[in-house]
């Protein structure tokens, strides 16, 4: 059990590609930190540098206060769970789990005890004599976990351990891993591209984009106060609605003009976001689908709600809510968000529905009865508005 400190960690590959740039993180003892980002964002490379599977180009890595840059992976006292599990195919479950202890010259009797203990913890007792190919995906995943936890290492590293499981099992294992980590209290770095996994599992989450740290914080913090457009678009599903707007600040308060709609901004939020100084300037306004409310929904819409006139283009029922898509006559700002979701590929927002402007999505109550073609008033919870500077893509509060 130890804290991990990354100081300006950088990875340059021989072909000149810089996968990670000046990554600084402090991961507290017993903490579960999730590194999240689209594929190719450098999160796995960062993890592999901590593991010692990848050389550090520059910067320093400390585990438990000891500089680890030049320490061999096997001397770092780290256990890792791989995306593909990487179980030894010729060994039984018990042998797989015991392998590292056997190499560590642990007495046979103790190995036996610890294998049993680990198997009990993971519910693998009845599978100890099987070989990996006789196991289901979820069972293999557990064996991979067992191989890591039997070591009682200082640090766990997990590289997308759930991405090969089907959806149901993934949700179950998510909870199990989290519970296990809390119970064992081992400092853990967990890499995933799945923002739901990040939000649900992490004590804190660190969002990476093209090797650069975008934001680090508790899941709620990152979700509610994204530091920039990228984080806003990447974290949250369905993603945040984003569109260009103009700030109007005068004696009567601050408003934003979003296409033909004018939306009042609550004074504290306006102050916190530095909007009074941005009078007449362009900003990007963001609002999460769940902060949009349909007619007759009294989801706390703030003292002075903003209203969007919507003609419904598309309706998706996802059970717990009804996703209503509609066009807003303002310039779309989702390009960055889409790039995040598709792993860096920027797709020009094509008006597939033949409608110009930004496409918004509102998560309404499932039984609100909204149908395609309906004209409805959508109320915004104005306290939940987000504002970004179009040039720097950063939250306007960071410009103060």
């Amino acid at each position: 059990m130890a804290e991990i400190v990354l100081e300006r960690l950088t990875k340059r590959f021989p072909n000149g590609f810089q996968a990670v740039t000046d990554l600084s993180l402090e991961i507290g003892e017993g903490e579960l930190l999730v590194l999240v980002g689209p594929s190719g964002c450098g999160k796995t490379t960062a993890l592999r540098m901590v593991a010692g599977l990848e050389d550090i180009s520059s910067g320093d890595l400390f585990i438990g206060g000891v500089r680890m840059n030049d320490v061999l992976e096997r001397d770092r006292d780290i256990a890792m769970v791989f995306q593909n599990y990487a179980l030894y195919p010729h060994m039984t479950v018990a042998q797989n789990i015991a392998f590292s202890l056997r190499l560590g010259k642990v007495p046979k009797r103790e190995i036996g005890e610890r294998v049993r203990e680990t198997a009990t913890l993971l519910g693998l007792e009845s599978l100890l004599d099987r070989r990996p190919k006789q196991l289901s995906g979820g069972q293999r995943q557990r064996v991979a976990m067992g191989r890591a936890i039997i070591r009682k290492p200082q640090v766990f590293l997990m590289d997308e351990p759930l991405s090969n499981l089907d959806a149901q099992l993934r949700v179950q294992m998510r909870g199990e891993i989290e519970a296990l980590q809390k119970r064992l209290g081992v400092t853990t770095v967990y890499v995933t591209h799945d923002q739901v996994e990040a939000l649900t599992m992490g004590d804190r989450i660190a969002v990476l984009r093209e090797g650069v740290l975008q934001q680090i914080g508790r899941p709620g913090e990152v979700y509610d106060r994204p530091a920039n457009l990228f984080v806003a678009g990447f974290i949250g599903s369905p993603p945040m609605n984003l569109a260009h707007a103009t700030v109007e600040a005068n004696g009567a308060g601050v408003r934003v003009r979003l296409g033909s709609a004018t939306i009042p901004v609550p004074p504290e939020l306006a102050r916190e976001q530095g909007l009074p100084e941005l009078n007449g300037e362009q900003v990007i306004v963001g609002i999460r689908p769940e902060d949009l409310h349909g007619p007759g929904e009294n989801g706390a819409s703030g003292p002075e709600p903003g209203v969007l006139q919507a003609q419904v283009d598309r309706v998706e029922s996802v059970g717990a809510s009804l996703l209503v898509h509609f066009a807003v006559d303002a310039r779309d700002a989702k390009a960055v968000a889409v790039a995040a979701a598709t792993g860096g590929e920027v797709l020009e927002s094509v008006p597939l529905t033949g409608i110009e402007g930004a496409s918004f999505c509102a998560a309404l109550e499932p039984r609100s009865g909204v149908r395609i073609g309906d004209r409805v008033e959508i109320a915004l919870d104005t306290r939940r508005l987000h504002f970004f500077d179009p040039a720097s893509e950063r939250s306007t509060r960071q410009l103060l």
Binding site: R74, Y88, P89, S100
Partner: protein, 292 residues
Amino acid sequence: MSAASAARPLASPGRRRLHRRHASALVPKYLGLLLLAVIVLMPVYILVVTSFKGVAETDVSHAWSIPHAWTLDGWRAAWDALSPNLKNSVELVIPATLISTVLGSLNGFVLSKWRFPGSDLVFTFFLFGMFIPYQAIMIPLTQLFGDVHFPEGIPRLVFAHVVYGIPITALIFRNYYATIPNDLMEAARMDRAGMFRSYWSVVLPISMPAFVVAAIWQFTSIWNDFLFAVFIVTDPTKWPVTVALNNTAGSMVTTYNVQMAAALLASLPTLVVYILLGRYFMRGLMAGALKG
């Protein structure tokens, strides 16, 4: 189309047509293959029937006929002539095959799974080795053996074959190890295994298929080699069977039955190796290491 077949699922008529087309296309294909097989097997047939004939029967005009009186005389004579050399061949082929496959496995491992700077270049040089003809090194090799006083006879032959086997066995193992996921090696590293431990405990136990392929290859080419044997080994009592077989043809009287039996005798071990080891060509040993 009848009502009954129309009621079948839509895919079925199409699939049946496909089957028929397959079947009609197969007939000429198999006839062609059969013809080629007969052509290839004709000499073997002559070899077998002649080996069971008496000397009197072995003239060219009766070459195709089945023996009137089956006899093992030819085989007995062949065994008497070749058995010391068969023993030499066994003493040569077993150590040479074992050493060269083990070396191939080690080489393949460091060239694919525990790579070092310049390993690709080294591998390229290895491959060059495959294209050096035996004839090119006859004189320098003989000179070298003499200069370093290398033990004469079979040990020299073992050494020469081991060295010449390095490229091909390295290639076989490298290609096989390339199919082992790198994750597995990294998992071993994270489990605190070093290079030798990773090889011994993780890679070697799943190397059986490559060992079988490399061993069959090496066994066959070493057993069948003639040129190395004839210029490296000067003492006739140490000759492997290929050289001795050639010399049975050197006498004044041509005893075809004995020669045919001798040829069969000399080629039996390679056949046996194929039949025995071929069964151990294992597939799917890797199944289960990774997801699906």
